[in-house]
C-alpha cells in the first residue's frame, strides 16, 4: 500500500507508436497516491493509450512505467497480475461481458481472484451495486442496460476488488449532461471516501474540474501542460486554454 502523497504512478519518458505513427512522444508524469489526475486532449492525441499503458494492456516503445514501485514494462505473468490487482479500469464502452448478467460481471473477478465464499461474494457485489445504484438491476444482461447504467456497472466492476488506483476512460462519453454528472458524483465519492488514486481521461472540462486535483493536457502525443486548475487557467498555450475552458 502506497502512502498518501507518495508517487504511485510514474511515467518516465514514454513513447509509443502504432505502425510507425507516433502516438505518444516522450511523456513524463507522476501521480501521487490519493490524487486525481485528469488527462484532457482532443480525440486521437494518445489519452486512452496513456491509460492502457498504465495497466500494461499496451507496452511503450521507450521509457518506463512504475506502478506502486514496480516497473510494469518488465513484468509478465503472475507479477503483472499482482500489480493489476491494485488497479480498477473503467473502459470507455464499459466493456461489460455481454454473455453474463451484471451480477456475474462483478462476481467473476471476486470468484477468480479472491478466496471469498459465495455468501461473501454476494455481499461484496450487492454492496458495490448499491453504491452505484444498480442493485435492482443485478440480474439484467448488459444489453438491457442504458448507456449510463452500463457505465455504472463498469464502474462497479472496476471497484469490486477495492483497487488502490482507478483508471477511467471517458466517463461522460455518450451520456447526457445529467447522467454524466451522476457518474462524476460517483467518482468524486470514491475519491473522497476511499482516497482512491484516479487517472481520468476526459473531454469534459467541467467534470474534470469537479474531480481532478491536477490536470494534464495532451496534444499530438506530447504533454502540453501539467498542473493544478489555477495554473492551467492562465497557461499561455491556446490549445490548453481552449480545452480547459470549454464547459
Amino acid at each position: 500500500m502506497t502512502n498518501e502523497g507518495e508517487p504511485i504512478i510514474v511515467l518516465d519518458h514514454i513513447s509509443k507508436s502504432f505502425a510507425s505513427k507516433p502516438v505518444l512522444q516522450d511523456v513524463s508524469l507522476t501521480v501521487a497516491a490519493g490524487e486525481a489526475l485528469c488527462i484532457l486532449g482532443r480525440s486521437g492525441t494518445g489519452k486512452s493509450v496513456t491509460l492502457k499503458l498504465m495497466i500494461a494492456l499496451l507496452l511503450p516503445d521507450r521509457g518506463l512505467i512504475r506502478i506502486a514501485g514496480e516497473n510494469i514494462t518488465k513484468l509478465d505473468g503472475e507479477q503483472l497480475s499482482h500489480v493489476r490487482r491494485k488497479i480498477g479500469f473503467l473502459f470507455q464502452s464499459a466493456a461489460l461481458f455481454d454473455s453474463v448478467t451484471v451480477y456475474d460481471n462483478l462476481a467473476l473477478p471476486l470468484h477468480r481472484l479472491t478466496a471469498k465464499s459465495k455468501k461473501e461474494i454476494d455481499e461484496s457485489v450487492d454492496f458495490v451495486l448499491n453504491e452505484v445504484g444498480l442493485i435492482s438491476d443485478k440480474n439484467k444482461m448488459p444489453v438491457e442496460l442504458s448507456g449510463g447504467m452500463k457505465k455504472r456497472a463498469g464502474l462497479a466492476r472496476a471497484l469490486v476488488l477495492e483497487p488502490e488506483i482507478l483508471l477511467v476512460d471517458e466517463p461522460s462519453s455518450g451520456l447526457d449532461r445529467i447522467t454524466a454528472s451522476e457518474i462524476d458524483d460517483l467518482l468524486l465519492e470514491q475519491k473522497t471516501k476511499r482516497k482512491t488514486t484516479m487517472v481520468i481521461v476526459t473531454h469534459d472540462a467541467r467534470g474534470a474540474r469537479r474531480i481532478g486535483d491536477r490536470f494534464a493536457v495532451l496534444d499530438q502525443g506530447c504533454l502540453l501542460a501539467l498542473g493544478r486548475a489555477d495554473e492551467l487557467d492562465y497557461h499561455g498555450n491556446a490549445i490548453v486554454q481552449k480545452l480547459f475552458e470549454e464547459s
Partner: protein, 253 residues
Amino acid sequence: MIKWFQFIGEVTLFGIRAIGRSFSPPFELQTIWNQIEEAGSRSLSLVAASGFALGVVMTLHTRSTLVMFGAGAMIPRVQSLAFFVEIGPLVAGLLVAGRVGAGIGAILANMRATEQIDAIEAISIDSFNILVVPRIIACVAALPLLTVFMDFAGLLGGFCSEFAFSHLSLRLYVTRAFTDLQWSNFIPPMLKTTAFGFIIGTVSSFFGYTTNEGAAGVGRAATNSVVVSSLLIILADVILVKCIFLIFPESAI
C-alpha cells in the same frame, strides 16, 4: 506468399501456446464443458440432418450402378465404408468449421472490438486461458462424437432410402453394413477428426482473438475462420489418410 507463410507460422505458434496452456493449471473445466455444449450439442441436429440426407442421396446415386452389376447386396457395405472411412469425418469437420468456427471467430473478434478481452486482462485474468484454450479443447473433444452421429445418421438415411426401394429389413441392412467392417475402418478415421477439431478451434480463435480491426474485423474474422479452417481440414485430410494407411495398412480398401 510470404504473408501466407507468416500466417501459418503465427497460427502454429498460437496452437502450440494453446497446447502448452491446456496442460497447465488452472484448468477451466466448467468453461470447457460449456464450450463442448456450445460446439457439440448445438451442432448435433445440423450434423445428424446432414448425415441422414447424405445417406439418402448416396444410396440413390450408387444403387442403380450396383444393381446393374448385380451387386445390390453391397449397397449397405458401400454406404458404411464410405461414411465411416471418409464422408462422416470430412463432412462433420466441414460442417463444424462452418457453424462453430464462424461462431468462435465472430464472438472473440466482437469481444476484442468491444474491449471485453482487454477488460478480462485488466482484472488480472488470463484471457487466453479462459477464452481460447477451452474453445480449442471443446472442438477437439466434440468433433469425434459428432462424427459418430454423422456416420450413424448416414447409415440410417441409407437404410430409409434402400427400404423405400427394396423393403430390406433393418436387421439385414445392419448385418450387411457391418460385414467385413474392421475397427481400423472406424477408429482411426474418427480419431483424425480430433486434428480437424484442433484446426477449427485454433484457426477460428486465432482470427477472432488477434483481430484489431474493430467492428469491421468481426465479419472478416468469421469469414476467414470458415474459409481457412475448411481449406486446412481438406489438406490435413489428405495427409492424415496417408498416415492412417501407413499405420493401419489393413484399412486401405
